[in-house]
Amino acid sequence: MRNQLETLAKPRPLLDRRGWAAFLAIGFVLIVLVPLLNILPGRGSMLHLSDYLIPLLGKYACYAILALSLDLVWGYAGILSLGHGAFFALGGYAMGMYLMRQIGTRGVYGHPVLPDFMVFLNWKELPWYWQGFDSFPFAMLMVLLAPGILALVLGWFAFRSRVTGVYISIVTQAMTFALLLAFFRNDMGFGGNNGLTDFKDILGFPIQAPSTRIGLYVVSVIVLGLCFLLCRFVTQSKLGRVLLAVRDAESRTRFLGYSPTAAKLFAFVLSALLAGIAGALYVPQVGIINPGEFSPANSIEIAIWVAVGGRGTLYGAILGGVVINLVKTWLTGAAPELWLFVLGGLFIASTLLFPKGIVGMVGQWKAWRDQKKAYALDDKAAAEKGAE
């Protein structure tokens, strides 16, 4: 008994041995092998990894971080945020503003300070909120602060007022919808519907150079790995259990003295930060940030990735984010007129067949096997008894 308790009480490891092995192996493939395959073999070679795959993979990594961030709040704290796209977009805009400032006089109107869209809409000077974005560290700070503060403020009000369930979902959706409309406005000074585009370089590296692309891709993968470990750390800690408790029976945790507000706020803000980082990595790789990222449908889609992958498992979310987008990339090219049927069908089928997501399949299979085993065992015992 005591021994069992001792084992149960041990701080949980970030990953078990097999987990680390898989983590490192995947990391090696993505960080070392993929770039090498792109660089080393000649273009015609069988082994050559096409140039166009690198930014694609980098994009998937960003989506994976985004999915991960949602899983943290949804899978563990039970907050189905339907506005996570907003945090992603804010991080993206912060990065986009930095990239815009880096254009300098290379814009079409050659204005030294103002981005093109401001020039042709007759803006005379840079609005105050654009100040400082020529500095990379400042922009990075804003990548964190913009989504972080928004999440803090919104979360603080909402969680304190005990806004839960679908209500919090709708609040977050309303938030992203409001931001969508606001950012669409040309008067806001963020480029309106077109958003920010035409980036030239990042930290002095030309953004379209293959080497920069590989660099951005590698950074994205590394950040994804780190975010994953960070989320694991949180979910494996006691706070992780508190979050689960809050998710399942929020009111009960209060009577135990835990403040659901604090726990949820922690998760929500952390998650918003991760989403912001994902957005910041995404923008230089796709070359555009525009208000479309705020659209409610985008945020719903993130939830779909997580659900398909497997909610509350972290790696399920990553898997979901990557797999769905992979399928989407493939089908929009391979079956441009039918792909919605396939994707929609996939969603339906996966919910019916794998209610716990792709990664839940394993557990489902195990449970099924255990049950079969138990049946067999009991049947044997019964047969023996009958024989006696």
Binding site: A367, D370, Q371, K373, A374, Y375, D378, A382
Partner: protein
Amino acid sequence: MLQAANLNLYYGASHALRDVAVSAEIGKITCILGRNGVGKTSLMRALVGLQTVRSGSIMWEGQDITALKPHERAKRGIAMVPQGREIFPRLTVYENLETGLAPLPRGERKIEDEIFALFPVLHEMRNRRGGDLSGGQQQQLAIARALVTRPRLLLLDEPTEGIQPSIIKDIGRVIRDLANRGTMAIVLVEQYFDFARALADQFILLQRGEVVVEGDASRLDADDVRRYLTV
């Protein structure tokens, strides 16, 4: 007449009922006893069809109902007072009772005054949401709701839980009375031993999903009880 035999029920890989047999006769009260977690509730749920059994058969009024859905069993006169009350929280007390009319033929859909006579508090609170009632009031509501269906087989899962002593006495009287009318078979799960013993005609005693003792109430002796019901 209810006759269930060889019931085997699993939760995933865990075997919750092992070859359990139970019977109930019209006009008689069958008591199911056993410690926490032995499978009493599981058995009741299997009888009403909320839990599918892996094997075994349930015969009621001469027909095999093992494959029937819960609402079909209700149509055949089976009703249950579940453990944990399971009131419809946002229906009013009266509406909660009305749900019991569903399995009745059209002409008979009426809540008998007798029900309110038995539980006057329900009449007083008929327009209050079921979920707002106190625990004991909900328990009374759950019993009343089952009676509204005019069952021929009544399954009671710890019906006295949380009810004040005076009403427990009333409930005891009613159960006896219902049995004596000779129109109803009753299966009662009860931890409150004195209550059970006073009512039971026959009993089964479960341990870890198995029937260990069964028989006529007169055979229910204190030793068995001590052996199987104490720690």
